[in-house]
Symmetry: C2
């Protein structure tokens, strides 16, 4: 099995409502699972304020470090939606009406309803590529390796599939979960030994509490199916040798 180069991504969640705790971010999970399926690993997420200087600095820092950057939030019609203008400045690109986006939105709204706020959603780097929005019309966009998506989860979810043929991924990250009726400290030593023997598999250990009982989920992740299977076998051998119960439905 050949190993392709690792393909990486960073996510920038833009929004005071997440920093204030009012809104729980679920876009990270959506994006990470989707990217994993394309063989792209999320390496870092930053949640930042609706602040132009901070957006510019964060975009310019992360876009050099990772293959792909995804931003969420700040591309709507209101005064606090400043992502499109900030990203234009980050790339030194002209911010203004994007012809194709304007045309899409003009057709989307009834005559007379395409007001200033709605027109604002057609403003972005004028040379950007669009990310179509099958839910609510207003497109996202991308410039170079920076993909700008909306913050509303259901709209974001409806748009990402359109990027499947644009992103170039690596080997898909395979994962496998074994849930055990035990506590972490009872298995820590053995799992450490197995991790040391299986360097190409990332082993995570996550305690849980469900239906009044404690358990631990062991999660194996690797892009190499054989190595994943070998590691899984070693864990099952250990689990059997200690008579630890495997839980099927976590």
């Amino acid at each position: 099995m050949t190993n392709k180069k690792e393909i990486t991504a960073g996510i920038i969640i833009i929004g005071n409502e997440v920093l204030s705790g009012r809104t729980k971010d679920i876009n990270t999970s959506t994006l990470a699972k989707w990217l994993n399926s394309l063989g792209i690993q999320v390496k870092e997420v930053r949640i930042i304020a609706d602040d132009e200087a901070i957006i510019i600095e964060t975009v310019n820092n992360l876009r050099k470090r990772f293959n792909y950057i995804f931003t969420t939030g700040g591309i709507g019609p209101t005064h606090d939606d400043i992502t499109a203008e900030s990203v234009s400045k980050a790339f030194n690109l002209n911010y203004g009406f994007h012809k194709e986006a304007y045309s899409i939105l003009e057709k989307y709204y009834k005559p007379g309803e395409f007001n200033d706020g709605r027109q604002k959603m057609a403003k972005m780097p004028t040379t950007a590529n669009l990310i179509l929005n099958p839910t609510s019309g207003a497109p996202g966009f991308y410039v170079d390796n920076v993909f700008c998506l909306p913050g509303v989860p259901s709209i974001l979810q409806s748009m990402i599939g359109g990027l499947n043929n644009i992103l170039i991924g690596g080997d898909p990250i395979l994962n496998l979960t074994i849930s055990l009726r035990t506590v972490e400290s009872e298995i820590a030593k053995s799992i450490t030994e197995i991790q040391n023997k299986n360097k190409d598999v990332e082993i995570g250990s996550y305690p849980f509490f469900k239906a009044g009982k404690l358990g631990v989920s062991i999660v194996l992740r690797s892009s190499n199916r054989n190595k994943l299977d070998q590691c899984n076998k070693e864990i099952l051998n250990f689990v059997n040798s200690k008579s630890i119960k495997i839980i099927e439905d976590v």
Copy 2:
């Protein structure tokens, strides 16, 4: 009303399980709401991998920029729990058994059950201050302005109250939400005008979709009660003038 200095915080979520999308982070929301109530504003959140070099770099970067840093995750008994050792290295402090933590854990477990994994949870910067854990024994700790908490939300929640008298906050951040039966683009222009006249109030606009109907929540945030009330009055005047319906139970 005097304005105290703004007191800021950064949050570092440590865990591959969040970056992979397997686990949705809810600790940010818990911490942010609690910190707001103490007059401390979260300015940035980073979600990073279980990687020593990255943890050290992130802790050392953020602790210089914000008054307080909170880390979550990576202080359990397993091989992937490396926060305590990494934070020790970030501060050039000795990593080893913390006497008080060891004593707490030794008493917490039954004789013979205080095994290697459990003992590992007593290892941290040896001079750290402890954050007591009323749920599951193993304490968190803090060094200087960096507070290290567990990743399991229910345990984290049970521990933060113990810090209320240790953190020094600013004026509490007051907030007020007005939910409207409208869409953002219909109110964008007027809200922008109100924001421009009320610089000391942060106005956020958040569309929602509930029970089959669209709406927008306008969220006002300020540490100044009078300015918050004034801004609220201007928004209600505008809402009444346009006969936009206010929704009470969002």
